[in-house]
Every structure is written in C-alpha cells, then in structure tokens.
C-alpha cells in the first residue's frame, strides 16, 4: 500500500490532477417549448449530444419538436443552425412555430439522400461546431435511410460528443434510429399516436386536419435517473385549426 501511495504522489507531482476523477458540471438545459417533453426530460442539455429518433415515414412530431426547440432558442436571442441533409425544412412552418429567421442559419445539402448527402451534412456540422457562437446546432438526418446512417463510425459520434462537451451549445441529431448510441446524453423516441380531425360526415371537403397526437419516450439519459419509461403525449396543432 505504501508503494502505491508513493507512485501516486510521484505521478501527481508531475501531472497534477491526473488521478483525480473528472466530474462533468451539470449542463444548462434548453427548454423545447413542448410542456410534456420538458416535464419528462427537463429540457435538451447544452454541452451534449442529443438524438431524436423516429421513423421517417410516420408523422411522429419530430420536426414539430425541433422547430419548437429552435423557436425557444431564437426567442432567447441565441443563434441556432440547422443542417438539412434532405432539404426538407419548410420556412413557412418555422415562421408559424415562431422561429426567428434572422437568427437561424440554414444549410441545405446538395444531395437529397444517400451517403453523399450524409457526408455533406457531417462536414457542414463540423464547420458550424468549429465556428462557435450557436446555442443550438441541429442536424436533420431524419430522411436518411437507416442502413446509410449505420455506416457512420462510432468514433465520429464520439468526437462530436467530446467537442460539444466544451461548448455552450446543444447538438441535436434527428435520426431514424439511435445511431449515436452511448455518445448521446439524451435519446428520445417519438412516435405518432393518431391524427385529430374537425368536421363531421363522410364528405372529405367537410373534414379538416386539426393536429397530430405524438408520443415521446426517453430511451437513454445521463441527466435524470432513474429513466422514466412511461411515454408522454403532446399535441401538434395545425396552423389553421
């Protein structure tokens, strides 16, 4: 035991703090503006990577949640960036959600799908992360096929997670499956729980889509233990309802 203590003191004399545990400070949280999600998660963590996973073909509310988060960030007069791998962002929806266009950098990838589009998205995200000054950096890979996303090496996710750890920014990925694995501080699963309609009768012109019911579930979190497995629901209301 005495020899261990000697070695320890010798190491610490040369490398101070080398043997003391590294404690991450509690991250600042960004509220999404969706009460059910904020209650369940406590918000989206800054200095960390978050993944929002949902099926690309199902109306699950992932884009609604992202726009609401961006609106909340720009309302705080912070800047956000969206790397849009499939060029699917709708500025009209963002405006309706309250996103301030003057504080939102939009990067539209040239290729709509496949490996090239994903490659562009990651390069663009890397450049934005290096620039700094953004409170939220969102990368929308929601329309990229799962088999393509699986080709991203784990080291890439790890690198992004480590880089953003030292920045006052939240890095959010929209994915079809949880590709970032344990590099993500928070993993959310979203799914659709039905549509809301107004109007009666069978005639289609008497019907009106008034919103979508969405379900959110925490897949993994480093921030709040134990993980609450019970899903929460929220409604996304259409502009005209």
């Amino acid at each position: 035991m005495a020899s261990i203590a000697i070695i320890r003191s010798q190491v610490e004399s040369r490398l101070p703090g080398a043997l003391s545990p590294y404690i991450l400070p509690a991250p600042e949280m960004l509220f999404t503006g969706v009460a059910a999600v904020d209650r369940k998660t406590g918000g989206i963590p800054k200095n960390a990577l978050t993944q929002i996973c949902a099926s690309p073909e199902v109306s699950s509310g992932k884009t609604t949640l992202l726009l609401s988060l961006m609106a909340a960030v720009t309302a705080r007069e912070e800047f956000c960036a969206l790397v849009d791998a499939s060029d699917s962002f709708d500025p009209a929806s963002a405006e309706a959600a309250g996103v301030d266009g003057a504080r939102m950098l939009w990067v539209r990838c040239e290729h709509k799908s496949g490996l090239r589009s994903m490659e562009q998205a990651f390069k663009a995200a890397d450049i934005i992360v290096q620039n700094g000054g953004f409170g939220l950096i969102a990368v929308d890979l929601g329309n990229i096929e799962e088999r393509t996303v699986r080709k991203i090496p784990l080291s890439t996710w790890f690198r992004f997670a480590r880089v953003v750890e030292k920045m006052p920014a939240a890095l959010v990925f929209l994915l079809s499956h949880p590709a970032a694995q344990n590099c993500a501080a928070l993993t959310l699963y979203l799914s659709g729980a039905g549509a809301c309609w107004q109007g009666s009768g069978k005639a289609s012109h008497a019907q009106l889509l008034s919103g979508v019911e969405c379900q959110v579930e925490i897949g993994r979190t480093r921030l709040r233990k134990p993980v609450q497995s019970a899903p929460a629901r929220f409604s996304a209301i259409s502009m005209w309802a």
Binding site: A92, S93, C109, Q130, S204, V212, A236
Partner: protein, 514 residues
C-alpha cells in the same frame, strides 16, 4: 509655423519594390521604361549608381554593369506607393501637400502639444515611414520649401530651427533646387555650386541678369519663402496593384501575393480609422492563342479579365479574414488562365462601434461567420436549381405560392416581431422537389396512394383545397387541389399533403406533417 517633409529616396525604384525595403537597400536595382525595343533606365538606387548604372542607359547597357535587378515601371505601383506615403503623412496631420512623386510636405503647425518637439516629431515621422516600408529622408523646418530642400539634400533626419535656414541650407549643392537648365548653366559659369554662394549674390545685379526667377531661387536658397500648402486630395479609393514577372497559375502562390496586398490596404485603412465591407479583386489573365491548339478551353472563350467581389455584413480591418474569404471564393471559381496583374480595391467604411453587454446572449462573430458561410458554400454548393442560396438565413416571401422563400446572407433578414405561442404548431416536412405519385380515386376522393416505393391505403382524407395564383402571368401561373391524407403504411400512420397540379393533371406528394 512648422512643416515636415518626407522624401523617399529613388522613389520609382522603391515603388517598384514597395513593401520590400530590405531588397531596395541590399540589391543593385533600377527601373526601366519606354517601348519594348528601347527600354531605358529612368531611376536606380545608390548601389546601382555605384555599380555604374546611370539614368538614360539602355537595358543592355545596364545589364552589362553586373547583376542588376531591373524592374519595369508600373504607373499603378507608383500611384499606390504615393498613396501609402500620403497615408503615412495623414497619421500626423490632415493638411498635406503631395509635392512630387515620393515627396510629401506636412503642415505640423500646432501639433507640438500632441506630438512633442520638432525633433521628436521628426523621429516619429522617420519611424512611421520606415514602418510603412519606405527608405526616406525627413526634414522639419519653419517653412515648406526649406523642409523640402533639406529633405532632398540631407540624409536621415534634419531639424532646422527658425532663423537658421540660410546657415543650415548653405552647404547643399545647387542641383537640389531643381533649376531650369539655362539658369543652372549660367550659375555654373559664375562658379556658383551651392546654396551659400547663391544666397551671397547681390540682389539687384542678380535680378538684372536672371530676372524675378533668379531672385526667387535665391530666396529659396536662403530659406526665406513662406507659402501656403496645396492640399492633397483624398485618394478616390484604396487600391493596391501588382504586376507579376511570371504569371501565376496556382492559387497557393496567389494567396501570398493577396496577403501582402491586403495587409498594405488594411494598414492604410487603419491609419485613417476606417475599415472595409466591400473588396473588389481584379485579375488580368494571360491568355495564349496556342492553348486553342492543345485542346484546352479555347482562348477565344476566355476573357482576359476576371473580377471577384466580396461583400461583408460588417466592416472589418482584419486582413486574414478577407484573405480566407478571397481564397475560398477563388477555389470555388478559379481564374481560367494564369494571372498576370492583380488589382485589389477596398471600399472604405466606418468601423461599427458596439458596446457588448455582460448578459448579452451568445452570437457568432460576424467576420468569422462570413468565413464559415463561405466554407459551407464550398461544401454544399452556392445555389440550388432555382437560384436560391444553399446557405444562409431563411425568409418567407409575401406570396401564396407554395414553398416560396429566399435564403439571405447574414444580417439581411429582419428580426422576428411576432410572439412565440405556447402551443406547438404542426410542422410540414417537405419533399423538394415534390414526389410524383399515383392516386386511385373513389367517388372523386383519393382511396390509395403510391409514391417512391410505398403503396398505402388512404384511411381518411380532407380536401380538396384549391389554391391558385399568378393567373395574370402566362408562364408563372399555378393552380392545384391540395389534400391532407391519412395513410396506413404497414400498420403505421402517416399524414401527407398531396396535390394535383390542375395544369398537368399530375399528382404529387408535397410533404409529410411531422
């Protein structure tokens, strides 16, 4: 009254080697000018004179004097060097006279309390001119012409106290006065070789023989003439130009030259407390007719001039930022032929002064953001098929036409004035361009939909909602019937916006509610 004079030695040589004073001092250099068949030396430095080079020699004669660095005269270079010399003077006083190429007289009256004694001002002028890349003589005196002649005739710094002009100028050779040839000849016959002997001549006989002109030169030699300065006009633009001996066809060496030019421009802007938000780069290319034979891009299609422009949202004085932006711009759109002449012009703007608050939210630094946007453009491309930018800040247009928006550079989008509501709005996730679809109708209502690799049954439909616009414009008219369809996709539910283009009858999937 106090005047200072900056006199750049062998100015045409210094202008040709501007920014490289060590080369001017260490090498044997001369400037040649004239028609290609008869190039003659018009200026040379002290080392060249010592080596036997003289003004008026032909190029071949100059070359025979040893390893002489011969530079062809470029008027633009002399203009930019003169502008740099003026800027050097403007650091001390707003009242300047651009007396001759390489000579600037500064009115220093009243600057004693700010800059110190005449000797201290002279020292500062000398240091500043050397920092600007010039090898100069400086003189400070009570009248402009005394300062001018002292600077022309005495090496380094000369300070002449009031009343001692005649005594201090006395030893200078008469050639410093730049007399007309005939007067110089007459004075030569009289044995007058310096200022002192000219000043000693009796006034009446001198006037009888040489007229009022002779008297004027005598008073100049005595340092007695008081006159007002002819104020120099502000340069219309900040421009730097360089002509390369060998054309450059690679972007990396071009970057080094651009860096030097940008640093000179930024230095001049900083001297006037100015910045720039608009930089224009003009490249003159060397286009060879023989390239046509080599199967490369035909020379006839290449324009000999190439222009690139940079516009920044905020003025900057940072040469590195501008260099990076120019490099990104040139890598995205490289010149089609080797570059021969580079002209860089910065349009001046006032610096934006802003007090940052302690609790101000985080925001990207404007200059750094501009570089980031340029780098992003290099990755994802500049524009889409409709001419809309791929990188920037989105703004919806005041139109009912679907998917009408523009993407603007930083700072061009007005801030949001609405309020963010508590409830979350359902977002639409677009397919750009809209996906072609096949729709099965039942009693006029979609019953099944097929698009991409999906085929789904319609569970519930709402619509049609007819939207039309631009009916007054034959080419731009659009009309369509929109439907909101709730699809059953292998047990999962998807809500899609589908429309039928009424002009073509074709069905499309515009996006998914998500």
């Amino acid at each position: 009254m106090l005047f200072g004079c900056i006199y750049a030695l062998d100015f045409p040589v210094q202008a040709a080697l501007h920014g490289r004073p060590h080369v001017f001092l260490s090498s044997v250099a001369a400037v040649i000018d004239g028609p290609e068949s008869l190039l003659k030396v018009i200026a040379c430095n002290a080392s060249a004179r010592a080596a036997g080079v003289a003004i008026g020699m032909t190029k071949i004669q100059a070359e025979s004097c040893g390893a002489v660095l011969l530079q062809k005269r470029v008027v633009e270079l002399e203009e930019s060097a003169q502008a740099a010399l003026l800027d050097c003077g403007y650091s001390f006083s707003p009242r300047l006279e651009s007396t001759a190429p390489g000579t600037v007289i500064i009115d220093l009256t009243g600057s004693g309390r700010l800059l110190g004694s005449a000797n201290e001002i002279g020292q500062q002028l000398l240091r500043h001119a050397e920092a600007c890349g010039f090898v100069v003589n400086i003189a400070v005196a009570a009248n402009p012409d005394t300062a001018l002649h002292a600077a022309r005739g005495c090496k380094g710094l000369t300070v002449i106290p009031p009343g001692q002009e005649a005594a201090r100028l006395g030893g200078l050779p008469i050639t410093v006065l730049e007399l007309p040839e005939e007067i110089l000849e007459v004075l030569g016959h009289w044995g007058i070789t310096d200022f002192k002997s000219l000043a000693a001549l009796p006034q009446v006989p001198l006037t009888e023989r040489l007229g009022q002109q002779g008297l004027h030169f005598q008073r100049l030699a005595k340092g007695e003439i008081e006159r007002e300065l002819l104020p120099a006009e502000n340069p219309p633009a900040f421009r730097e130009c360089t002509e390369l001996e060998e054309p450059v066809d690679l972007l990396e060496p071009l970057g080094f030259i651009l860096n030097r030019l940008l640093e000179q421009l930024m230095y001049r802007l900083r001297e006037r407390s100015l910045a720039t938000d608009h930089v224009q780069l003009d490249l003159t290319l060397e286009v060879h007719a023989e390239r046509q034979l080599q199967g490369e891009s035909p020379a006839s299609t290449i324009t000999p001039h190439c222009q690139r422009m940079l516009k920044l949202p905020v003025p900057t004085q940072d040469a590195k930022v501008l260099l990076k932006l120019l490099q990104l711009e040139l890598s995205a759109h490289p010149p089609e032929a080797p570059v021969k002449i580079i002209t860089l012009e910065a349009f001046p703007a006032r610096m934006r002064c802003m007090q940052a608050g302690l609790f101000q939210p985080l925001a990207p630094e404007p200059a750094k953001l501009e570089i980031t946007l340029a780098r992003l453009r290099a990755v994802v491309g500049a524009e889409d098929g409709k001419g809309r930018s791929r990188v920037g800040f989105p703004r919806t247009l005041d139109s009912h036409r679907p998917d009408s928006f523009e993407v603007l550079p930083a700072g061009a989008v007005p801030g949001w004035e609405g309020e963010t509501e508590g409830s979350c709005q359902l977002a639409l996730r677009l397919f750009r361009p809209a996906l072609a679809a096949r729709v099965e109708l039942r009693e006029g209502c979609p019953a099944a939909l097929a698009f991409l690799h999906n085929r789904a049954r319609v569970v519930r439909a709402a619509g049609p909602w007819r939207v039309t616009g631009a009916w007054w414009d034959a080419g731009g008219e659009w009309q369509r019937d929109e439907w909101d369809l709730y699809l059953n996709l292998d047990g999962a539910a998807g809500l899609y916006r589908v429309f039928q283009d009424l002009c073509s009858g074709q069905w499309f999937v515009e996006g998914m509610y998500d």
